[in-house]
Symmetry: C2
Subunit: 411 residues, 2 copies
């Protein structure tokens, strides 16, 4: 093989990349904030289901069963018969939460993330304005930043703020000529705040979307994991087809499967399907469909809700018991997360160092804001979904120690 | 739930779609040309591995084994330890074909198709010109048409034509101001012609890419399935980093897994990785990595080569025995396909009808050309990879009967 000239390669490729003006990612790779340590730090950082929440034996059995029934089909391009009914099965279940979904309005995706990426590919260009909650889901930000520099976060994490008022004020006074394309929302048990938008807020948001002509993307990743009462998706209030809904099995079966769905107006879903070049992921959809066919998903959801409710309550109790007075949070009503806000005088870098040294990890608040944001919020996300109950309590005790040290040390 | 106003939905969404000026697909859905019949028509249409080529028992065992070793890890976001070495393992194997690949130059993808899609997302815009062989792989055309209207096929299927001369002439005389972005090539056992580009042609193509400043995408999907001698990828001739290489396990393990890879200059691969929003597909990469760890892949490839060589030779023998004189083809040296060209007086529609009625399916030639092409080529693709040897021979006999009827019936 001829020798490779690295310089000329880079020169040549730079020409192509410049055309696209790709945005430089300023963030570390996902997971790099979880500092691995010899003594297994307590992981309050990763938004993972706890290990036994994943039905691994049943999933292996599902693959074995679908192969026994259908031979090579699940491994071919054409895929399994089992997976043909999966989209319809999901649509039927969504009806239980009040959504009537025509068959051409639901597209299977690789987790909610691919759904969001396909929405962006279909409706955004480099001039588009995207609005998000501040703070919001970090992977969503990474996707938006692939398509546009215009990502604006509107504050949603302060008790004295009503998100719909913040949004209405922003929309009424907005300057600049970026076309407003979409508002991305976690409506129930939002990542990272755990917040739930009220029914009134949801109605106001849909009305604002109609008035100002933008799409709303509702991320329903945690909808099924309510602690007490089911909350119907905001999509149920949608008359004009302005709300797109993202669903996923990542939190209720397994993140590694990468099976989710997007619901929206048929023409938009059809356009998204054209950009979806994974040939339907025959194997994982077959496996998922067979699992759902063989197992009792409702019993499973009831059990998961009880598990996460117990963890969420334990976390809240530990916060109340250990945290200094100046730290505040809102008790979760579902999902995986609690958002802690602490006084301005705490140094974020030193807090992370102290917590890491004590053996507990979390995700610093800044990761949940757009890149262009100059905020370095005095906040962090803890996740109560992954660790054992004992370690959740201990992790929060250690974190409170780190916070207390910072709060006391500084004037 | 309020009633849905379908009209206003469509109106609203149309505004978004118009901004993107999405191209209308004029083609039937994939697979719709395979006419299902009660008596199981002989399938010379689908480019699938034959059923027993897929190691389904070993794949089920691989999943079971990786779960036994790593518990929930392959089902989580972070993925399996088994899959961490997969990219490196592939890079090492590619070295056997003469390619030295730094770690940052290889990206795992969902089959070759996602690799091609990521290349397009990274380097194309709506003004870009893409050149392809005429005929070429139909899924690649679908991807290009998602990004640009400027897709030009340069003829490669006639014995009196040298593709490099056709390309050189086109480049020298090209008018219009679409920036030439990339040339997409099947270099060995091309889909749909089965053709292999000579070493001289490969050198000329790389020189033309340097002279005219375009990227070459080399689709190596069938490289491992040579009948007699291994042919090094064109990428081995690449000094300037202008050749991107697409690889896949779809033909050698299973299409349904959706595991492939792309090799290219590190800055371009890094840019592509940013658009890849599938979180690395933890489960399928774990399954694939464990399979490759537990099984002897070289022995498997030897066996597959013998199987496809036998099928390819049988198909050639049947063509020689049954086809009318006016039909021509080139004997395959690897891969899955043979491209048949037949006289102008054969009516394509009636040929397909006759063949379907006789119980044999194939893919008409027109599907392998860009949408804008007005050619309705007197050609078709047959695939010898999927059916049993007996049915391959019988399928070709029936197809020759259909062709003979058309040739004799028409003056």
């Amino acid at each position: 093989m001829p020798p490779t000239s690295k310089d000329s390669q880079e020169h040549f490729v730079a020409r192509w990349l410049n055309q696209r003006a790709l945005h430089t990612h300023q963030y570390p790779a996902p997971g790099s904030w979880v500092q691995p340590q010899a003594n297994h730090p307590i992981n309050l950082a990763s938004g993972y289901p706890f290990p036994d929440a994943i039905p691994r034996t049943a999933l292996v059995a599902a693959l074995s069963n679908v192969v026994a029934m259908e031979g090579d089909a699940p491994f071919q391009y054409s895929g399994s018969q089992a997976s043909e009914g999966l989209a319809h099965w999901i649509a039927q279940r969504m009806q239980q939460s009040g959504l009537m979904i025509p068959d051409d309005a639901l597209l299977l995706t690789q987790g909610a993330i691919q759904g969001l990426d396909l929405i962006c590919q279909t409706v955004l260009d480099s001039r588009s304005l995207v609005l998000v909650q501040g703070p919001t889901y970090m992977e969503a930000l990474e996707i938006f930043h692939n398509y546009t520099d215009h990502v604006v976060a509107l504050s949603c994490d302060r008790p004295d703020q009503d998100f719909t008022e913040v949004l209405a004020t922003y929309l009424a006074s907005r300057k600049g000529n970026s076309p407003l394309s979409l508002l991305y929302l976690g409506t129930s048990f939002q990542n990272p705040t755990g917040l739930v938008l009220s029914a009134e807020a949801r109605r106001t948001l849909v009305a604002l979307a109609r008035q100002y002509h933008f799409l709303i993307v509702e991320d329903g990743a945690y909808d099924a994991l309510y602690f007490d009462a089911q909350i119907p998706p905001m999509k149920t209030l949608d008359i004009e087809g302005q709300v797109l809904y993202l669903g996923t099995f990542s939190k209720t079966i397994s993140p590694g499967l990468r099976v989710g769905w997007v619901i929206g107006p048929a023409p938009l879903v059809e356009a998204m399907a054209r950009f979806k070049k994974d040939l339907g992921n025959p194997l994982v959809t077959a496996l998922t469909a067979k699992f759902l066919h063989d197992e009792d998903y409702d019993t499973r959801l009831d059990w998961l809700r009880a598990q996460y409710r117990m963890r969420g309550h334990l976390a809240t109790e530990a916060l109340q018991r250990f945290m200094p007075e100046e730290v505040c949070w809102i008790s979760p009503r579902g999902g995986f997360f609690i958002w802690l806000r602490y006084p301005d005088r705490v140094d974020n870098t030193r807090l992370l160092e102290t917590a890491t040294n004590l053996g507990v990890s979390y995700v610093p608040g800044q990761y949940f804001y757009p890149y262009a944001s100059h905020d370095n919020p005095k906040a962090l996300r803890i996740c109560f979904s992954y660790e054992t109950p004992v370690r959740i309590t201990e992790g929060i005790r250690l974190l409170s120690r780190a916070l207390r040290e910072q709060i006391v040390a500084l004037p």
